[in-house]
């Protein structure tokens, strides 16, 4: 019986709710010692000298390394702009490790790190895009003439389209720098002994880590093992190659003992790579009816101090998805990647797509506002039709697979009474004692299921498939081994559902194993909303092949033609003759016995490995609406409604799919209203603890109302598109559109994220001082 679409409870839960989960910091090997960084307090400075003598003299300290000790060890990232494992000659962001201490326990290590004396000679700092691009800006990397690492100019700037258009408008947008903040910070434990290297790490892609670390040290992969046990959230920030992953190994080799590194939160806030950090210049041309005629987008991506390969790719994805779910005849894009004296920037849930949905969904609202049209009507005017797929966009990167954007909007509007809300909004504007009401829409689209051949290779991965091994045990139970190592997604449950449906083996007799390069044949990892659409499809495919082989054995045992054998419950029957049956357990047992299987069949044949490929990306979409109330006296914003219609294609488990949406929407609301990584002009982080960086708690977020439509993807047999990043892509523009809508009668056209009560209060105070509307200069 198929379990696709069933609300099955998770196999993962029992360990995690009883304290029997096992995260990296929970694991201790005999002789384990601890590694701690000495981190830069300067954003840009020459390192004059490092004195480690006092630290080395501490009882219990085994090693103190500085740049002098890592000579010959390669840098990470881009050639010529690489990041050394420890800052060498120059530090380029606050928090950059300058030295590393290894000691017998974490207290001794922390005390010794305090005793390392670093003598800095300050250099001028460029801690923002503005500062880094200014004339005479300090240059971060000598290999470059300035701070622009790469620039893709416009091929055609659409001057003629814009000159001929009835209307044009423009927006300057800041997509605020965010921190991923998985509740488990980075942790690793390296044990490099005479017979090889084992690295436990909290990481989203164990094989990717194995491939990279083994190549880095020039050791054969058969002697290296990576284990990613329970991983306490990732959100894209745990696929980056940060120095601690390599230094823990090198130091284990050096001191001959297992070396543990466990990040504190305040370290994590400056060392774990950030996300977003883009600025957009958007120009749109449109006609009297709100039909979009042309879109011109320029993205400036803050790369932080050292460009990361994923970070370099973010604006590629943003510009590829800039047109969203709309038919726009002319789209022109340009981007540039710029280094600054800040923490490096790479993937964070959505990675380039939340930025795209934000810019196009803000733009569509701007068009509606300019024309005095309803934002729902303008969206409908421009949707790509459900019968226009596959839909070729302005770039060959994005050929949309399937969707029905109008149907998602229809479904959304069944979840609340839009006309009543609009009437309420108008009434409140006339009542000075009432809170203002705002209604914001987002009909978003994203690119998922990474990916077709070549897509992940561009980010340094071995390939873009996902591996699955399906092994039927002699007792008729089955184990799925997947390279798509999860960190909260519930893959152990959903993959067992997929396998159970195809195999006929009960869900309770199927285990899913992951996160160990010694037991999982090969793998890529969990990121880019790919686990189900690529890895899950592999499970389906492997299951189908195993059933075909099992039917051959069943036919032999039942003395029937293989064409007549069908699955029936937990076994096989001769079609039309249920009395002629054989149980899975018997087929499985005998599949290992040469005397019981057809001549020429290998014993143990019910064991299939699949390297699952997909021909294209998938394009999950949805329609969200956010309603807000704004306190006129304080500027406080309260989300009063969050309505979410997703289309991720086939849903394997609605409980888990909804959980993914909720989590992504929470992060999107946080980006819109709360979270912002801030540096001062000197490059000092202002948000390096959870006191300063506002991760929302339960009382800061609303309840969610969910709906769903389903358009299957043609890219896989499951029809599943991916769901992991949808919420974080769709929700920020809905929230910001709602706040701007609440204030639009005052002349507000845009407010940058995060929209704080202070920002709203300032608008309201300004409007009140100016007799009801605001001056144009500080808005939009």
């Amino acid at each position: 019986m198929s379990l696709i679409g069933a609300r099955v409870l998770r196999k993962e839960d029992p360990n995690l709710i009883t304290g029997r989960g096992q995260f990296v910091d929970d694991i201790t090997l005999a002789g384990t010692v601890v590694m701690t960084f000495v981190r830069s307090v300067e954003a840009h400075a020459r390192i004059v000298a490092v004195d480690t003598s006092a630290a080395m003299a501490c009882r219990g300290v085994l090693a103190v390394w500085t740049a002098a000790d890592i000579q010959g060890m390669a840098t990470l990232g881009l050639p010529g702009l690489g990041r050394p494992l420890l800052a060498t000659d120059v530090v380029r962001f606050v928090g950059e490790p300058v030295a590393v201490v290894v000691a017998t326990d974490k207290f001794i290590a922390a005390d010794a790190a305090e005793l390392v004396v670093v003598d800095y000679e300050s250099l001028p700092v460029a801690a923002s895009l503005t500062a880094a691009l200014a004339d005479g800006a300090p240059v971060l990397h000598g290999a470059l003439p300035g701070n622009t690492v790469f620039e893709q100019p416009f091929v055609d700037d659409l001057a003629a389209v814009f000159a001929a258009a009835p209307h044009v408008a423009s927006l300057q947008l800041v997509n605020n720098r965010c921190a991923a903040v998985p509740i488990e910070p980075t942790a690793c434990l390296a044990d490099w002994g005479p017979s090889g290297l084992t690295l436990w790490a909290t990481f989203q892609a164990p094989h990717h880590l194995r491939n990279t670390v083994a190549a880095y040290f020039g050791i054969p992969q058969d002697t290296m093992r990576v284990i990613t046990p329970d991983v306490g959230g990732g959100f894209g920030a745990k696929i980056n190659f940060v120095p601690e992953l390599f230094l823990s190994c090198a130091l284990s080799h050096k001191v001959g003992r297992p070396v543990r590194y466990t990040q504190t939160r305040s370290e994590c806030q400056v060392l774990m790579y950030h996300g977003r950090a883009q600025e957009h210049e958007v120009h749109v041309a449109f006609d009297d009816d709100g039909a979009l005629l042309g879109l011109r987008v320029r993205v400036t991506q803050d790369q932080g101090a050292y460009p990361d390969p994923t970070g370099m790719g973010l604006p590629v994805l943003t510009t590829a998805m800039s047109a969203g779910c709309y038919k726009i005849p002319h789209v022109a894009v340009s981007w540039r990647n710029v280094v600054t004296n800040t923490t490096p920037v790479a993937a964070y849930r959505g990675a380039g797509r939340p930025e795209a949905s934000y810019l196009i969904e803000r733009t569509v609202d701007l068009v509606a506002d300019e024309l005095g049209l309803d934002p729902v009507a303008v969206r409908r005017r421009n949707f790509i039709g459900h019968d226009e797929f596959p839909y070729a966009t302005h770039t060959p990167l994005a050929v949309y697979d399937s969707g029905n954007y109008a149907a998602a909007m229809d479904e959304l509007l069944t979840l609340f009474d839009y006309d009543a809300l609009k009437a309420d909004q108008a009434a409140r504007r006339d009542d000075p004692d009432a809170k203002l009401l705002g209604i914001g829409f987002s009909t978003w689209l994203e690119i998922a299921a990474f990916g077709p051949p070549g897509s992940l290779e561009a980010f340094g991965h071995l390939a873009s498939w996902e591996s699955v091994q399906l092994r039927v045990q002699p007792d008729g139970s089955a184990i799925v081994y997947t390279g798509a190592s999860p960190h909260g997604q519930g893959t152990v449950t959903t993959f067992a559902q997929i396998a159970a449906g195809e195999l006929g083996i009960p869900f309770d007799k199927i285990s899913v194993r992951h996160g160990d390069t010694a037991t999982i044949p090969q793998g890529i990892g969990t990121m880019g909303s790919r686990a189900t659409a690529v890895g899950g499809e592999g499970v389906r495919n492997a299951s189908v092949q195993v059933v075909e082989r099992a039917k051959g054995i069943a036919a032999h045992l039942l003395e029937a033609d293989v064409e007549d054998i069908v699955l029936d419950g937990d076994g096989f029957i001769v079609n039309g003759t249920p009395s002629r049956s054989v149980a899975w357990s018997e087929v499985a047992w005998k599949s290992f016995q040469p005397l019981e299987i057809p001549t020429g069949t290998q014993p143990g044949s019910l064991d299939i490995t699949v390297f699952q490929q997909v021909p294209n990306f998938s394009f999950p979409s949805g329609a969200y609406c956010c309603t807000v109330e704004i306190d006129r006296g304080t500027g406080e914003i309260e989300i009063t409604g969050m309505y979410l219609v997703d289309d991720c294609g086939t849903v394997i488990n609605p409980l888990l799919a909804e959980g993914q949406v909720h989590g992504g929407v929470a992060q999107g609301i946080a980006q819109a209203l709360y979270e912002h990584v801030v540096y001062d002009e000197s490059g000092n982080p202002q948000t390096s603890t959870l006191m300063d960086y506002l991760v929302p708690a339960a009382c800061d977020l609303p309840s969610f109302v969910s709906g769903r439509i389903t358009t299957r993807t043609p890219n896989n047999q499951l029809g599943a598109k991916g769901i992991g990043e949808s919420g974080s892509v769709g929700s920020p523009p809905a929230v910001v559109n709602a706040v701007v809508d609440a204030l639009s009668h005052l002349g507000v056209r845009h407010l940058d994220m995060p929209i704080t009560p202070l920002a709203v209060w300032s608008v309201l105070a300004d409007a009140s001082a100016n007799g009801g509307s605001i001056t144009g200069s500080e808005v939009a």
Binding site: P14, G233, T262, G488, G663, V665, A697, L701, S703
Partner: protein, 171 residues
């Protein structure tokens, strides 16, 4: 650093250990007692992943020195049930309502929720959200956590109605 002898009860067992005065209760639990269910997610007492019950109250064990717990009675997530015992209502609620994803914040959430229901057996959704404001979760968006606590309030014996008792639970 000189050490101080402490005696306290953890999950029903009495222990006497010599600890440094600067040792946090969470470090004592994790490093000395090797009870690694209580997690560390921050260094400013914001995240609540280390929440345990000390003398009946939910406390963040990173804000208590081990020496301050001297003579006290501590319950960690490992102490909620014994081997083979059914889940507590709160544990079962988190399972039934998908109140966890990665599971890192979960022990703290479960301990804080357990303490809440001891004080207020039938909280409103708003009361649940405010009671858990000291516990951060990055995966769920909290709605399923609120649902989980409400499930526990509505099923004080922790027994799953037959309809839903299909799989996953180990009792």
């Amino acid at each position: 650093m000189s050490k101080i002898e402490i005696t306290l009860t953890v999950n029903g067992e009495q222990h006497t250990d010599e600890v440094e005065p600067r040792l946090l209760l969470v470090q004592y639990l994790r490093d000395v007692r090797r009870l690694t269910g209580s997690h560390i997610g921050c260094d400013t007492s914001n995240c609540g992943a280390c929440t345990v019950i000390l003398d009946g109250d939910a406390v963040k064990s990173c804000t208590v020195l081990a020496v301050q717990a001297r003579g006290g009675e501590v319950t960690t997530v490992e102490g909620l049930i014994g081997p083979g015992e059914p889940f507590t209502p709160v544990q079962q609620g988190f399972h039934q309502e998908h109140g966890l994803q990665c599971g890192y914040c979960t022990p703290g959430m479960i301990m804080a929720s357990t303490a809440l229901l001891t004080e207020n057996a039938d909280p409103t959704d708003s009361e649940i959200r405010h009671a858990l404001e000291g516990n951060l979760c990055r995966c769920t968006g909290y709605q399923t956590i609120v649902n989980s606590v409400r499930w526990a309030a509505e099923h004080p014996d922790g027994v799953v109605p037959d309809r839903a008792a299909t799989n996953g639970a180990h009792q």
